[in-house]
């Protein structure tokens, strides 16, 4: 009984890392640009498909493909920002959101067109037998995913809190006009933020693609979870999104184990509604401040 519980906790820990990664990318875009980014899930699917193309079709090394997939995600994110969002910078939130919904429809159906609806799997170089501690077991691939996710989360945290670009991002988040007056290049900050967030989404897709299967609609579920994590943690809050990712993963695992597996994907939304009743600003509210 206790073993089972611990196994669920271990699974949740492994899942939480990628959820956190997804959430961080979205929370930065959301917080700094005030854009409800509906393409986030598609960037996740894009990362997974690039991983599939590079590893299974072109035969590139698994680890090099991971880096490349993330880089391609950054490029695609930057392109979306420059073509669709930059011209609409002064528009209402619902206008940019509709454009992002349009982009989401176009991207998803392009994926369907390019790769067909058949689920694809990606081979990974890790040993097939799991890592065993006593009665608990976990696959090597999942351990690797958690480590890379933690590395990327730490790197993002450092980028936001310890670099000049990060300072510009935080300044833009707090007050766009004042930041611009102080000489922050707002346009560059926006493009960099969107590209970074997209790269993180692509990285989580590239990490999870080899664990699950790759399908054109895989991004939809990922996007809804990322939204839930952002609300849990508060807009623009990197630490909040990290904690939110792990909380969501735990809630899902425990919910599946002890309540009902059919409601797995409802857990995030139920958490949101609960949070709103108790603490509308998010779990780790620092007065809407970044990280």
């Amino acid at each position: 009984m206790l073993d089972q519980f611990l196994q669920h906790c271990l699974n949740a820990l492994m899942l939480g890392g990628t959820y956190a990664l997804l959430g961080i990318g979205l929370t930065l875009i959301f917080g700094i640009m005030r854009v409800v980014n509906f393409t986030h899930g598609e960037l996740y699917a894009f990362g997974a498909y690039m991983m599939y193309a590079l590893v299974m079709r072109l035969g590139i090394d698994f680890f090099a493909a991971l880096v490349l997939a993330m880089a391609l995600g950054i490029v695609l994110g930057g392109a979306i920002e420059l073509t669709l969002l930059r011209p609409l910078r002064s528009s209402d939130i619902d206008i940019t959101m509709l454009v992002m919904i349009g982009a989401w429809i176009v991207l998803q159906n392009s994926e369907q067109l390019a790769w067909t609806g058949v689920a694809q799997s990606i081979a990974n170089p890790f040993p097939a037998e799991p890592l065993v501690f006593g009665s608990l077991s976990v696959s090597w691939n999942r351990v690797f995913v958690l480590l890379v996710a933690m590395f990327l989360i730490s790197a993002t945290y450092f980028l936001v809190n310890g670099t000049k670009l990060g300072r510009a991002m935080r300044a833009t988040f707090q007050d766009r006009e004042t930041a611009a007056l102080m000489g922050v290049r707002i346009e560059r900050v926006h493009t960099a933020t969107f590209a970074l967030g997209s790269g993180l989404a692509a990285a989580s897709g590239a990490l999870l693609g080899p664990i699950f299967v790759v399908t054109p609609t895989m991004g939809d579920l990922a996007a809804t979870k990322a939204f839930a994590i952002v609300i849990l943690g508060g807009l623009g809050n990197v630490v909040g999104a990290t904690v939110g990712g792990f909380i969501l993963a735990f809630a899902e695992e425990i919910g599946v184990a002890y309540i009902s597996s059919g409601y797995r994907d409802a857990m995030g939304f139920l958490l949101i509604i609960l949070i709103l009743l108790v603490r509308p600003t998010g779990l780790i509210a620092q007065k809407e401040r970044i990280s």
Binding site: L98, G102, I105, Q112, F227, I231, D265
Partner: protein, 347 residues
């Protein structure tokens, strides 16, 4: 005098079944009409109170399920040996109850969701729709889950033994939907032009200012949500008894997207906007299908069209036409925009 355009348009729509014999065309009009009612209800929230709800399909689906379940009858076991249920009820009663149930859901959700604004509110509204969809999938005893509710009865009205009208045929249903749309239009118009409507517009334009003059924001937002949800629920009930099968796919996000794009294309915050946008986006999928291209390409074209419309006409078609009409014949003021901001509330 301003009523004449609306009456002419209504008469034009009413004449369609008289000269149109293509039943497939009528079918598209019926479905489009139902979605226009839903889009009008969304416009009340999005256009007049300025709150972007992306969970609107939840109310539509709740109305459809509630109406179907009441007309079919259901029984649910709350515990092992305690069950609640009702027998089949007449369809008109089911539709009325469904409207009320959707309105009640709007009340509950409004109370919770309006604690937040902006991007948070958008996500909360999506979450609500998704939770409702998952309940519809998983609560098989009530909803039949993915197996769907089948054989939903059609609407019949009349005095027993004297006269009975069956809404099984498409022209009859077309008139029913048209009547419902006209009633919805009048309700929204009257609400927006009332004191409550002015309060809603005030808080759309400047919420802190509206609060400072004593407008109870949450109260008016919840009122708008209740009316909007009930109307969307009625549209859902009309849909359920028309297609006569309801499954959890009715809660798909793309239906909300369709309603939003109808409102934005036509012009949010205008009375005619959802109708203009609805006619356009009701016919676009049919035109794309007629071009006989792959479904993926149809969707890509749909997405690109959405982006294009938002880029070219962010205000929507109706305000653009109004601006052109008003500036016609007059020399436009130097450097000034043809319409002033906030004039969208007038038809």
């Amino acid at each position: 005098m301003t009523r004449w355009p609306a009456i002419v348009v209504l008469a034009a729509f009413a004449s369609i079944p008289l000269w149109m014999e293509n039943l497939y065309f009528l079918h598209i009009l019926v479905v489009t009409g139902i979605f226009i009612i839903a889009a009008m209800s969304l416009n009340l929230l999005l256009g007049f109170t300025g709150q972007l709800s992306l969970g609107h399909v939840a109310f539509f689906g709740i109305g459809a399920y509630a109406s179907a379940l009441v007309s079919l009858g259901f029984e649910v076991h709350l515990t092992e040996d305690f069950a609640v249920g009702i027998g089949p009820k007449p369809v008109w009663l089911a539709m009325a109850l469904a409207t009320a149930v959707a309105g009640l859901c709007g009340f509950a959700i409004g109370k919770i969701a309006f604690k937040v604004r902006g991007a948070y509110f958008v996500i909360v509204s999506i979450s609500f729709a998704e939770v409702v969809r998952l309940v519809a999938v998983n609560w098989v005893e009530l909803t039949q889950g993915p197996m769907a509710l089948n054989n939903i009865p059609a609407l019949k009205l009349g005095v027993p033994g004297l006269i009975e009208i069956s809404f099984l045929r498409k022209p009859a249903y077309y008139y029913l939907v048209l009547a419902a749309a006209a009633v919805s239009y009048v309700i929204i118009r009257r609400l927006v032009n009332s004191q409550a409507g002015r309060a809603m517009i005030a808080l759309r334009e400047n919420e802190p200012l509206a609060v400072s003059v004593g407008i109870d924001v949450t109260r008016y937002l919840v009122l708008a949500t209740v009316v909007s949800a009930a109307m969307a629920g009625a549209a859902g009930a009309l849909y359920a008894h028309y297609v006569r099968i309801v499954d959890p796919d009715i809660f798909l996000f793309i239906y909300t997207v369709t309603m939003v794009i109808m409102v934005i294309t036509g012009g949010k915050g205008t009375f005619a906007g959802p109708i203009v946008g609805g006619v356009i986006f009701g016919s676009v999928p049919e035109v794309l299908r007629a071009l006989a291209i792959q479904p993926e390409l149809q969707w890509i074209a749909f997405g690109l069209l959405m982006i294009g419309i938002v880029f070219l006409l962010p205000q929507g078609i109706v305000p653009a036409v109004q601006g052109w009409w008003q500036s016609r014949g007059k020399t436009p003021p130097q450097g000034g925009p043809p319409i002033e901001a906030g004039s969208g509330a007038q038809q």
